[in-house]
């Protein structure tokens, strides 16, 4: 993966997405890409050059794009339908519901530049509602990879598994996470990246590296915090949530609204089966103007912000 461009040791995972897809397409003729005038922003220029007949650009027409994806699946193809996450999910939501999830077609929806990657372009271009509205749809697997390795693994898993997928891919550069040798990716299985008994942080996507940094800060002040990467929101690893609850305090962290996403999913499990204190970190609603980093800082989605939330919740538990 060294060919990809690093910005201060961080990587834009769209490049991994494109490389992995090209490699898969090389050996699996069924793989096609479907886009909405988003060849460049999905990093599929190379794919288009290598497989010109297998890149279908429907123009700026997301509803048609998802419907065409469903039709391609019906025709025996494995379509990777790739567009800015905000337009893919919001504009084509009924196509995703009816043509993909309900019909159970083999469509791989790739929501690019999710979260607040389009910072200054504003709430129309932020995709911080997608977990919430897609999580309601049966049959749809939802994965938010945390780094290059997990991005590649998630794409391979999606290609190898029959059925609807939504891959939430960021453009915000992230570091490669340290994993034990032989680590494997399994759809629906959470990954405990760090053990700890004082509290648990459950994060996914671009927030995982920040959660790990927060845990390090906390360890320096004597708090041992478990860090769980919940890349799969659907299916959800209920057991891992139970294990996190055993610490007595959970902080969830996502680049998403505080309503209905990862935090919502965890809270549903906690409230109905293993009560413990929960703090949900994310965005409050439509956001002001600002760069991605500005918005993450302002809403406490930094290592320091996460660590502060953990200290607060642990303090509250001790006081109770």
């Amino acid at each position: 993966m060294s060919a990809e461009t690093a910005i201060c040791g961080r990587y834009d995972c769209r490049e991994t997405f494109a490389k992995t897809l090209e490699a898969l397409a090389e050996t699996d003729e069924r793989i096609v890409a479907v886009v909405n005038d988003s060849v460049g922003s999905s990093k599929l220029v190379g794919f288009q050059k290598r497989f010109p007949d297998r890149l279908i650009n429907v123009g700026i027409a997301e509803q048609t794009m998802v419907g065409v994806g469903a039709g391609l699946a019906n025709g025996g193809k494995t379509p990777f339908v790739s567009a800015a996450a905000c337009f893919l999910t919001a504009r084509a939501l009924e196509q995703i519901k009816a043509d993909v999830a309900y019909t159970k077609t083999n469509v791989k929806l790739c929501g690019m530049s999710s979260g607040v990657a389009y910072g200054e372009l504003g709430p129309t271009h932020h995709s911080i509602e997608d977990f919430a509205w897609l999580r309601l749809l049966p049959n749809l697997t939802i994965i938010a990879p945390s780094d290059r390795w997990e991005t590649a693994e998630a794409i391979k898993a999606a290609a190898a598994t029959e059925g609807p997928f939504f891959l939430r891919l960021s453009r915000m550069p992230v570091p490669d996470l340290k994993r034990p040798a032989g680590a494997t990716f399994r759809v629906g299985a959470a990954e405990t990246l760090r053990d700890g008994r004082d509290a648990a942080i459950i994060a996914n996507g671009v927030m995982v590296s920040r959660a790990l940094e927060a845990a390090e800060q906390l360890a320096a002040s004597g708090l041992n915090v478990r860090v769980v990467n919940m890349a799969s929101i659907a299916p959800l690893d209920v057991e891992a949530i139970g294990a996190a609850a055993a610490t007595g305090a959970i902080v969830t962290v996502e680049e998403h609204s505080v309503r209905g996403g990862l935090g919502g999913a965890v809270a549903e499990v906690i409230a109905t089966s293993c009560p413990c204190r929960v703090r949900i970190l994310g965005f409050p609603g439509f956001l002001p103007t600002g760069s991605p980093e500005f918005l993450l800082e302002r809403f406490g989605l930094t290592a320091t912000g996460i660590a502060a939330a953990v200290r607060e919740i642990v303090g509250a538990r001790k006081a109770a």
């Binding site: 200054e120 504003g122 002001p288």
Partner: protein, 274 residues
Amino acid sequence: MSTSHPLAELTRAKARQIRRRALGMVYRAKQGHPGGDMSVADILATLYFGALRVDPANPNDPKRDRFILSKGHCTGALYATLAERGFIPIESLDTYMQPLSLLNGHPNRNYTPGVETNTGPLGHGVPVAIGVAIAGQIDRADYRVFVVVGDGELQEGSNWEAALTAGHRGLANLTLIIDRNGLQQGARTEDTAKLEPLADKWRAFGWDVVEVDGHDHDALLAIFTAPAGGRSKPLCVIAHTHKGQGVSFMRDQVFWHHGALSQSQYELALQEIG
């Protein structure tokens, strides 16, 4: 060649100012959509300084003409126009896309007076414009509704659903302007999902159609100021434009759909615009 319109000298000067300011905003913000800003500048200048009955002192006057920029990514040109027309302070343009700025990358009516509806996702402006036009008909109000769409934007199906509705209802108080610069984000429209024959499509949907050089102020003014009274159909103006118009290295270049300018590019652009 159209006959000269008394306001054309003013609107041409305004268009130059809009182009200069929009490029300054994109330069300082290090991002934006300069290609589309440049292609729509003459349309905005002629509308705001030659046709629209709007009052910056009373931006919510129920009798005002309505303008909607459906291709909401071109806020460089839109905010520069609103500032030039007195809706927002000229100095505020310096805050374009800065943290907590009221000038977001896409227009927000809750932040910016003069903006009628929040756009950004393509294909939203025409249905909203139709709603305003229907409200005007119900109230027998004499305001007019103008909406600008990008040509690539026309690939969104919502436009064609809306085209049916407007044609069906004979909304003569509605004018749709297509910024026909031939380019979308990644390529030419005709190489992506072709639009031609475009005029025939709108006629078939029940609209009057005029085609115009979208950089010819006399011709634009003549169209925008013609009374709507004689018509029984909505009007579609196909404005033939160039993306990046006014700046040689941007003109007709898909590369400049979005992007940032270097200092030397910015200076050269200002020189060329004059």
